[in-house]
């Protein structure tokens, strides 16, 4: 029972995540929405990937531009293993395929890590970028291991399941992804509390001092990199099971960038930050991109807003409220938030409208598309929508400035109070 009490957050999350897809269950046809399940599986995989990335960036302060190399190579290993299992050469339960990917990722993590962890900081970043470019070029050139442009395909229905599950439906795969995501997340969480995890923090914070204490920072980095490769490889193994194919783009710079963005947006400081960030990034990429061609622009704006105003990421924003919550005055922020909400919404809508109008006059119109909101076609050549957009943007911005002042005062007062009560150091 105490187990439940101690880990209720994880249990609640599990229940909610299992229940969530049923919101999209198509009762008339009696089937799950494959899109939602795949999207959530993708979030699961990318969350593991982002967490493994945070083992480098958050824990050890290593900025990598080529982390997808480990994900991709793990995925290729898993794909080859699955094909061997399918051919009857070896036997492995379907459930353990991600482990094969993980071991692959760990192997490459060690080999490549041996090279890259000789340096840190910018040099480390540039080496990983170079390796990323080299591996993704090699993935296209060498047919044997990478299968060229077509990649390596698998069939996840192998009849080797430990639980007799066929893995024909996305729902079954989603459950497997969820299970692995929880296992991996817990392991990574535990890892932060091991001596290695602590020393990694030390080499990040004060590199010389960690050396004086008697740890070779290079070995620490190498171990951390290798372990990170293991978890990235698990994500790769799951990727293979979801999509049943692995191609060269899994090692590409774009995938690496995703991890960096997810970690930064979510916040590298808290353990759950990268998970939040992943949700945002995947929803932007696979959700918003269906609605708007300009989604990349929104991604760009989001980053800029985040780095300028919330460098701690989403988790940092949440943590900021902790002291106020601890003195029990969180509800006093409700009104200021409620007052700031309409102008913020106005600015956002105005901006989106403006971008979409622009995008439609130049690109969308040429595609023969019509700009419609809720079925109402909007004439992008008429001045009215432009005026509305501009007005919303400008007035909203002015209004939010006003509200921000009041908000700031309220906030400062509350923090001051928290300081007085000694909950903030």
């Amino acid at each position: 029972m105490s187990l439940v009490r101690r880990h209720w957050v994880w249990l609640l999350a599990l229940v909610v995540l299992l229940a969530f897809p049923f919101l999209f269950f198509d009762w008339s046809k009696g089937r799950h929405s494959g899109f939602v399940l795949t999207l959530m599986s993708e979030i699961g995989v990318m969350a593991i990937f982002a967490l493994s990335y945070n083992m480098l960036m958050g824990q050890a302060g290593l900025l990598s531009f080529g982390h997808a190399v480990l994900l991709g190579l793990g995925a290729y290993c898993a794909a080859h293993v699955v094909n061997l299992v399918k051919a009857g050469t070896i036997w492995l339960p379907t459930e353990l395929v991600p482990l094969a990917g993980g071991l692959g990722g760990m192997f490459f993590g060690f080999v490549l890590g041996w090279l890259v962890t000789r340096q840190r900081a910018t040099a480390f970043a540039m080496i990983t970028m170079g390796l990323g470019e080299l591996v993704s070029a090699a993935a296209l050139m060498f047919m044997g291991f990478f299968g060229g442009e077509g990649g390596i395909s698998i069939d996840r229905v192998m009849d080797t399941s430990l639980f007799g599950v066929a893995y024909t439906s996305p729902w079954q795969v989603y459950c497997l992804v969820l299970a692995w995501a929880f296992i991996a997340a817990m392991l990574m969480r535990l890892q932060t509390q091991t001596p290695l995890g602590r020393i990694a923090n030390a080499t990040r914070d004060n590199f010389e001092r960690a050396q004086f204490v008697g740890y070779d920072p290079r070995i620490v980095r190498l171990l951390q990199f290798t372990l990170s490769g293991f978890f990235a490889g698990i994500a790769g193994g799951l990727y293979v099971l979801i999509y049943e194919i692995v191609t060269f783009d899994t090692v590409s710079a774009a995938k690496s960038a995703n991890a960096l963005l997810a970690v930064y947006i979510g916040g590298a400081g808290g353990f759950f930050g990268p998970i939040l960030g992943t949700i945002v990034v995947v929803l932007l990429q696979s959700g918003v991109s269906l609605l708007s061609n300009a989604w990349l622009l929104y991604v760009g704006v989001l980053f800029i807003v985040m780095v300028m105003y919330a460098p701690g990421g989403l988790i940092g924003l949440i943590f900021m409220h902790v002291p106020i919550w601890r003195i029990g005055r969180l509800r006093e922020l409700l009104l200021p938030y409620a007052r700031a909400f309409p102008p913020a919404l106005m600015v956002m809508l105005g901006f989106v409208l403006l971008v979409e109008l622009l995008s439609f006059t130049t690109i969308g119109a040429a595609q023969g598309k019509k700009f419609a909101i809720g079925g109402n076609v909007i004439d992008t050549t008429a001045p009215l929508p432009w005026l509305i957009a501009l007005a919303a943007l400008v007035l909203g911005a002015l209004w939010i400035r006003r509200e921000a002042r009041g908000f700031r005062e309220r906030w400062d007062a509350l923090i001051e109070d928290a300081k007085r009560q000694g909950v903030v150091s």
């Binding site: 957050v9 609640l12 999350a13 909610v16 969530f20 919101l23 999209f24 198509d26 008339s28 046809k29 089937r31 929405s33 494959g34 899109f35 399940l37 795949t38 999207l39 993708e42 070029a137 296209l140 050139m141 047919m143 060229g148 442009e149 077509g150 990649g151 395909s153 069939d155 024909t168 439906s169 996305p170 990727y239 999509y243 049943e244 194919i245 191609t247 060269f248 783009d249 774009a254 990429q285 696979s286 991109s289 269906l290 061609n293 300009a294 989604w295 990349l296 949440i318 902790v322 919550w325 601890r326 690109i363 040429a366 595609q367 023969g368 598309k369």
Partner: protein, 414 residues
């Protein structure tokens, strides 16, 4: 404190997303279309999308199929197979009978596998994959699938067209291709057909270049010149082709360029006037064919698009795809992927230019006429306001490119 955060966060999420549960009625026949629509390769999907939209409007004005209209539903796949597969899931969720994709054999391979598995596992909700431009030969040979229909010639057939278009006076050629599956198969097939069709031609150089990494092609041009080649044959696309030809033209090399993709959006602009009478492109359709053969109906169709969009109609050949769809749906008598697929295979039609085409039954590869265009002045429709356009240098008929295949088609039981 965690409780509140989690609960409020999840509640927020549930409220935000839970509102829009899907419940579409099938008023139209939906065709999912997935290609890159954003990012550095957005022009590919963008150009296709506007042309398809025009063609679909035209087909709908001719009655659609079974009294229903076709509707194109675009999905951005960002050149990523995983995103294409998410699009596939989205399409099958909404019971769309067709998914279409034109760019990238990696994505095509992923889609074929994905569609095969989906259709096996969900016999009540099947989908057909219409391939409008992924040209790896494997896709209709070793990897062939009952659910995959390819409406463009594959790389080996294009290679044959290219070799057949080579003038008799050209005896020395140089090959440059991109170093990945597609480029390697172009390399292999061009060599193969040069040996078969033109044994007199000598290959003086054969080169693979890393995909999209070369910024200056002058060294290659130097090498080509030193080899004494008269023609350069390349399957390169995008910057790898534009920069290659530009470097050649700048260096004043006395070369002809035989390409697969010089006619696509952006190519003519990049090549410019220097490519006059030098650049040849193997193309499924050329806007100037209609005026050249005096087909007024097709000409009006092209002109309609040009007037509307101020843009090249390079892919008007897609009309063949939708005419096949229309005919197959009508023949099947129901919007049912299995029935439509059976109706479509083996179908023969005259395309809108008046040439014979067939959807081969044994590998689901469309065999139709193909053109080789020469970049010239004084054509009716110029390309990208350069004043130059594609004059038809050669027309290769379907019967001449009817290559054998190694497909072992597995058909489902109805």
């Amino acid at each position: 404190m965690r409780i509140r955060i989690w609960i409020s966060m999840l509640l927020g999420l549930l409220l935000a997303v839970g509102g829009g549960a899907p419940g579409w009625a099938q008023q139209t026949i939906k065709v999912a279309y997935t290609d890159p629509l954003s990012g550095p390769f957005a022009q590919v999907g963008d150009a296709n999308l506007k042309q398809m939209q025009y063609i679909i409007d035209f087909i709908n004005s001719k009655g659609g199929a079974l009294g229903k209209k076709f509707e194109l539903v675009p999905f951005d796949n960002k050149s990523q197979p995983s995103d294409a597969l998410i699009a596939l899931k989205s399409a099958t969720d909404q019971n769309m009978p067709f998914i279409m994709q034109c760019s990238g054999s990696n994505i095509a391979a992923a889609l074929i596998e994905g569609v095969n598995k989906h259709n096996d596992r969900n016999p009540d909700n099947r989908i057909i994959y219409l391939n409008c431009g992924a040209v790896a030969p494997e896709l209709t040979n070793e990897q062939c699938s009952f659910w995959h229909f390819r409406f463009d010639l594959h790389a080996a057939m294009k290679a044959e067209v290219m070799v057949r278009a080579l003038p008799k006076t050209t005896t020395k050629v140089y090959l440059i291709n991109q170093d990945y599956l597609f480029g390697q198969s172009v390399q292999r097939e061009v060599r193969n057909f040069l040996g078969k069709v033109r044994p007199d031609v000598q290959i003086v150089g054969d080169e693979l270049i890393p995909l999209g990494k070369i910024k200056d092609f002058s060294p290659y041009i130097t090498k080509i010149k030193a080899s004494g080649a008269q023609a350069l044959m390349t399957g390169n696309w995008g910057p790898d082709m534009n920069l290659l030809i530009k470097a050649g033209v700048d260096a004043g090399a006395d070369l002809s360029y035989y390409t697969f993709y010089a006619h696509l959006a952006g190519g003519p602009t990049a090549i410019g006037a220097g490519g006059e009478n030098r650049v040849f492109s193997v193309m499924p359709f050329s806007e100037n064919v209609a005026p050249e053969i005096g087909n007024a109906e097709a000409d009006a169709f092209i002109k309609g698009f040009r007037d509307k969009h101020k843009f090249e109609f390079t892919s008007a050949g897609f009309r063949t795809i939708f005419e096949y769809l229309q005919a197959a749906v009508n023949k099947a008598g129901a919007v049912d992927a299995t029935k439509i697929a059976f109706a479509m295979e083996g179908m023969s039609r005259k395309d809108f230019l008046g040439f014979d085409t067939t959807m081969r039954k044994d590998d689901h590869q469309l065999i139709g006429e193909y053109f080789v265009g020469a970049f010239k002045k004084g054509v009716k429709y110029d390309a990208e306001n350069t004043g130059l356009g594609w004059a038809t240098a050669a027309t290769i008929l379907a019967k001449d490119i009817d290559q054998p295949n190694s497909c072992k088609m597995k058909r489902p039981k109805i």
